[in-house]
């Protein structure tokens, strides 16, 4: 059974204080897709991401990961399939060493210690952070923290990678490395970001959100070159696409 498919249908959500964060969001992402979720602050991007692994329960509509509809009962399954890299690596790295942090997810999945060791080694190798395995995470640089946070999720062997602002707080070199890493992943990727240049390099498709709704969905270059659309939703046309004319 493939879990690579993500389908959201008519998803609505309001926070207890009455703020309507999502108003009927629908989209579908196929196997191996790389989709950017863009939109201004407060557009509902983070709220949407929290529905994908069942952290927030759907109020109306449904979220489907592969064949499974995400509910309270299937949330554990969804969390195995969907790996979420949160915006602040300090929230994600809470164990005393990098290796223990990467092992946290696989151990929770009940895997035997020997296999966990292998997964940890492979995940750290994948992000090029093997040399940091015994270091305490809070002592790392922002770029290292980000890479380790990604490793903590990779170690759980998810089918779908969800990232919230992966390039925030990174210096240009760390950001460049991150882009290379993201391009090398074969997972289905959903990346919420304001870094539109990263979107151009990593994502083939874009979902534009505004005020809790998807206002546009389409190929990256086409949508991001549409200056009117971008400006209308608190975004801008990336420099690298200045010369590209939308058709």
């Amino acid at each position: 059974m493939s879990h690579h498919l993500v389908e959201v249908r008519d998803l609505s959500f309001a926070y207890p204080d009455g703020t309507e964060a999502l108003k009927g969001v629908s989209f579908r992402i196929g196997h191996g897709g790389s989709v950017a979720l863009i939109g201004g602050n407060g557009a509902g991007k983070s709220t949407l991401l929290l529905h994908l692994n069942g952290y927030l329960a759907t109020m109306r509509g449904e979220v489907r990961i592969g064949e499974t509809i995400v509910t309270r009962e299937t949330a554990a399954l969804a969390r195995r399939a969907v790996g979420v890299v949160f915006q602040d690596p300090d929230d994600q790295l809470f164990m005393p060493t990098v290796a223990e942090d990467v092992a946290f997810g696989p151990l929770n999945a009940g895997l035997p210690p020997a296999q966990v060791e292998t997964l940890v080694a492979a995940a750290l190798e994948r992000v090029g952070m093997t040399h940091l395995r015994e270091r305490p995470p809070y002592r790392l640089s922002a770029g290292e923290k980000r890479a380790v946070a990604i490793a903590t999720v990779l170690a759980m062997s998810p089918d779908i990678l969800v990232m919230d602002e992966p390039s925030s707080n990174l210096d240009p070199r760390a950001r460049r490395r991150l882009i290379g890493l993201l391009q090398s992943f074969e997972h289905t990727k959903i990346i919420a970001t304001h870094d539109l240049e990263l979107v151009v390099e990593v994502c083939r498709e874009v979902l534009v959100m505004d005020a809790g709704q998807i206002v546009a969905q389409g190929p990256t270059v086409e949508l991001l070159s549409d200056e009117k659309l971008m400006l209308a939703h608190g975004l801008e046309r990336p420099h690298s696409l200045r010369h590209v004319q939308p058709h």
Partner: protein, 267 residues
């Protein structure tokens, strides 16, 4: 330097990873022995000082064999000292009965029990800090769970430890930014009140996000540790040896005994 570095909370986890005979001991054994140590020290009558001195051996052994910087433990103990001081300080005021006199100086029972409380404080807090520094909080938590302490309580403790570090970092940043805008004037109480309120809200938001990240990786209320130490014969030896030592030091005043032995030998 980060505020959290200054408080040194994170450094304890690094020390716990050093390779030494103390660090290699099973966390359960160390927890049990330290608990027994605290019970033994606290069980002495309130005017006792000299009989407590042999108990210094245990924290000092942990610190020196575990290669934990002594100064580090001393500094942490000083941070906690005001609490013990607040309790002990009333003794000299309330208990004015003379207990002994050294020349013209009369030592009251209050001062002796004050000294006893402070000494016990140094012993117990020092031993507890040394235990955490040579074991690591997460392993200690796992050990407590194995020893039958309810999981909810253990997880609470681990979270408290985790957030202490995060909150102290926040507090450091807030104090710094307030100082930078204070124009050199001291920060008033009202400002601190508002800062503490903000700190609470920020830590709650942070707690929510950390929890979210933990749940996303399958957290179900139990913290699992990869390298669980196995209980070996040296752990049994460590427990038996220490408990026998504590029992002996509790029953006999070893310090006085040693003094008498030396005095007896000299005469």
């Amino acid at each position: 330097m980060k505020f959290a570095d200054w408080t040194g909370i994170g450094r304890m986890d690094e020390m716990a990873r050093l390779a030494s005979p103390v660090q290699r001991l099973d966390a359960r054994g160390k927890a049990v022995v330290t608990l027994a140590f605290i019970v033994a020290v606290m069980s002495f009558p309130r005017h006792e000082v000299s009989a407590l001195t042999p108990f210094l051996l245990y924290p000092i052994a942990l610190i020196s064999l575990g290669r934990i910087p002594l100064w580090f433990i001393v500094k942490k103990t000083i941070v906690a000292a005001p609490f013990a001081l607040a309790i002990a300080i009333f003794n000299p005021i309330i208990d004015r009965a003379p207990l002994a006199s050294v020349g013209p100086l009369v030592v009251t029972g209050g001062w002796v029990s004050f000294a006893s409380i402070m000494f016990r404080f140094v012993l117990t807090v020092g031993a507890a800090l040394a235990l955490v520094a040579c074991t690591g909080m997460n392993r200690l938590g796992a050990a407590m769970e194995q020893l039958g302490i309810p999981r909810a309580f253990v997880v609470q403790l681990l979270f408290l430890y985790r957030y202490l570090f995060v909150i102290s970092d926040h507090a450091g940043k807030m104090t710094r930014s307030a100082e930078l805008r204070s124009g050199g004037r001291p920060l008033g109480f009202r400002l601190y009140g508002s800062m503490i309120g903000h700190l609470l809200l920020r830590s709650m938001a942070r707690a929510e996000r950390v929890h979210r990240a933990m749940v996303a990786r399958g957290f179900d209320g139990r913290i699992r540790v990869l390298r669980q130490t196995r209980f070996q014969w040296r752990d049994a030896l460590f427990i038996c040896g220490c408990l026998a030592l504590f029992a002996a030091a509790r029953v006999w005043n070893l310090a006085a005994g040693l003094g008498q032995l030396l005095a007896g030998g000299a005469s």
